[in-house]
Symmetry: C2
Subunit: 389 residues, 2 copies
């Protein structure tokens, strides 16, 4: 297998973008990434799109072909493929592109992620999101995503003494980071009091414990490592990936406080990379709820099991602390256009490893990691990146 | 890149299976393929699922995780990924598995395709299917799939003198083949008169010119070519693939009588295989409508442009004639559970190349091809297979 590098990145503003269509967003992100990579449209061998539910959000399937067409690429008859795995679709698209380049099938591949969620209203959006949990055994009985994650939060509090304040500390930290990110949906800090006093969604999770509904797109250009320098002065290598699945329904899990898919995906990725969690300088983890980040940093072994809450409260996961987690603001503050998330996470890591993190730059960042979930953890994908010297 | 072989196949009955769920179907096909490959569940490194619209047909996204879970594979935490590209999703899933094995990322991969279409009623199903055409410029104005393919048929008749009877000849032939296929949805022959006198759907396409709505699943086990003999006495090599896209909307095409995506995907596949259309003994092409098969055999260069109608009428594409096309009965008679289609096509080719075609065996079949479309031709995938000697 040959090495694979990222040579260009681009994304749209994330937010409630009522005047922009799915097509507009996909094209803007793609063109920015292509420009950043200094390639021409005709250099692209293939396109992978991460998207969760365009069929339901905008009544359009087959979105990979749509994006290529509307980006003006129809004449080159590019192979275009959409990949889905709940919220992990963007990370999965990255993985397919990696395999396509590593195998020699393609040389230069564009990976896009996009979702247009805010046109359907909040109730319908919640219903669409819940279709990535178990329809027959969970959502048909009224379980929403916040409800399912609240179950995990309650059990985590019971098992490990995790406090309401520790959950809230995740939101406060990620909003502080998001305030430094010009494309974030929420570029403003919030206080502990605001989180604790916010309206309840599913006990113990309040409004500020939940990532928002978002519109947005993100794109990455990848090529074989040996050609990366030709296009880019600061290529970033995707050195290893790990992917794992678990039961779709929460009630079938071994343990409600651990996502085994994250544990296994993390182990697989670290093993392939020949690295350990201690080698990671900066990580974007899937904080669709505050409890998710606490479980993620434990399951990825950045902290000991049960120590995710105290570590967050003590500032160990803040920018330029022990390990900088969700410097982009995470799903919580950068926003969560589902299909775009895995790609946007990778973009943040690339920017950090290039030294282009601006006000939120992690000092001397060499190794970065992304962690993306599908459903309530039935899919997990971990990618590990390193700056090419 | 290392070679990739198919070592096991399995599928369900195709039809209106009102007493079987999506999960039932996916698992049955998968277990049959695993049994056929003589592997154990723990040998499987990854699972790819081709599925078009489970989000809308059964209100369930994230179906790759569902299938692994319900097949009892949750404990091995398999990487599972769903792939979508309109009607081409099964063929695209096969392609991702090919890249994953060729790259060395995985050794043994299961590819499944499934769709459960008949529970929502015909009007809703037609609406769901049309979401793979251009929602903003076609379907919002009421264009259905039969209507869009009828436009192509009319233009083909105008340009090349293709007759109503020649279109009908595709359906008559494929029902004749389907009558020999024990898993086909329609295992009965039809006459030219029946096709010509059937109710009109979209002029000139009548009921018998359209593939049905179907439930069904199909699965394939693939591994690296060097290990194939270990599991299987008659492995079949996937020697090359070609994939191409085109404009999503019909009105943006260069020519309504040719699908450029098919032309380009075919050229790419033949080039990589070092073969020509004349080398192909048996082909499964995407006959979602009768006109589609005529265009496909022209665009794949099995016959000259414009000669698809006369060639079909003259029996050149019947079982054991010049080239045996859609020996399974095709989408028309075997049925069209969308996500399963590309996988089911590959299974038919594998059976033919193994010499397991039964009453519909193509004599001395050495090289086979599958052709699968997404939308009205915005995606096309061509795979070429050869018997391993």
């Amino acid at each position: 297998m040959r090495g694979v590098a990222i040579i260009g990145v681009g994304e749209t503003q994330f937010g409630e973008l009522w005047d922009r269509s799915f097509r507009d967003l996909g094209i803007e992100a793609g063109l920015k990434a292509i420009e950043d990579a200094h390639i021409r449209a005709e250099d692209i061998d293939a396109l992978y799109i991460g998207n969760m539910s365009a069929g339901k959000f905008i009544e359009q399937e087959h979105v990979s072909a749509i994006v290529a067409d509307y980006a003006g690429l129809a004449d080159s008859h590019l192979p275009t493929t959409r990949v889905e795995g709940g919220g992990a679709c963007g990370a999965l698209a990255l993985l397919q592109a990696y395999a396509a380049i590593a195998s020699g099938l393609h040389d230069i591949v564009v990976v896009g992620g996009a979702e247009k969620m805010t046109d359907v209203g909040e109730v319908k959006a919640a219903e669409i999101l819940s279709a990535t949990a178990d329809q027959e055994w969970e959502t048909v009985f009224g379980a929403t995503f916040p409800a399912l994650y609240a179950i995990m939060a309650r059990r985590h509090m019971y098992e490990y003494g995790t406090t309401r304040e520790q959950l809230a500390a995740v939101a406060v930290k990620n909003h502080r980071h998001g305030a430094l990110n010009p494309v974030a949906q929420y570029q403003k800090e919030i206080t502990m009091e605001m989180v604790l006093n916010a309206g309840m969604v599913a006990d113990p999770l309040g409004v500020f414990d939940c990532a928002p509904l978002s519109d947005g797109a993100a794109a990455i250009v990848m090529c074989s490592l040996d050609r990366a320098r030709k296009f880019c002065e600061t290529p970033v290598e995707l050195i290893a990936s790990g992917q794992a699945s678990d039961t779709i329904a929460l009630h079938d899990r071994r343990d409600l406080t651990t996502m085994d898919a994250t544990v296994v995906a993390g182990k697989r990725a670290f093993h392939r990379a020949g690295l350990t969690p201690a080698d990671v300088d900066v990580a974007e983890v899937h904080d669709n709820f505050t409890i998710s980040e606490i479980m993620a940093i434990e399951d990825l072994r950045f902290v000991k099991k049960g120590q995710g809450g105290p570590a967050t409260e003590d500032g160990e996961t803040a920018l330029n602390s022990k390990i900088s987690v969700n410097t982009s603001g995470g799903l919580k503050a950068r926003g969560q256009p589902v299909g775009a998330t895995g790609v946007a996470q990778a973009i943040e890591i690339v920017r950090q490893l290039r030294g282009e993190g601006g006000k939120r730059q992690v000092t001397d960042a060499e190794v970065g990691l992304t962690h993306t979930l599908g459903g309530t953890g039935a899919t997990a994908v971990v990618h590990i990146f390193r700056r090419v010297r």
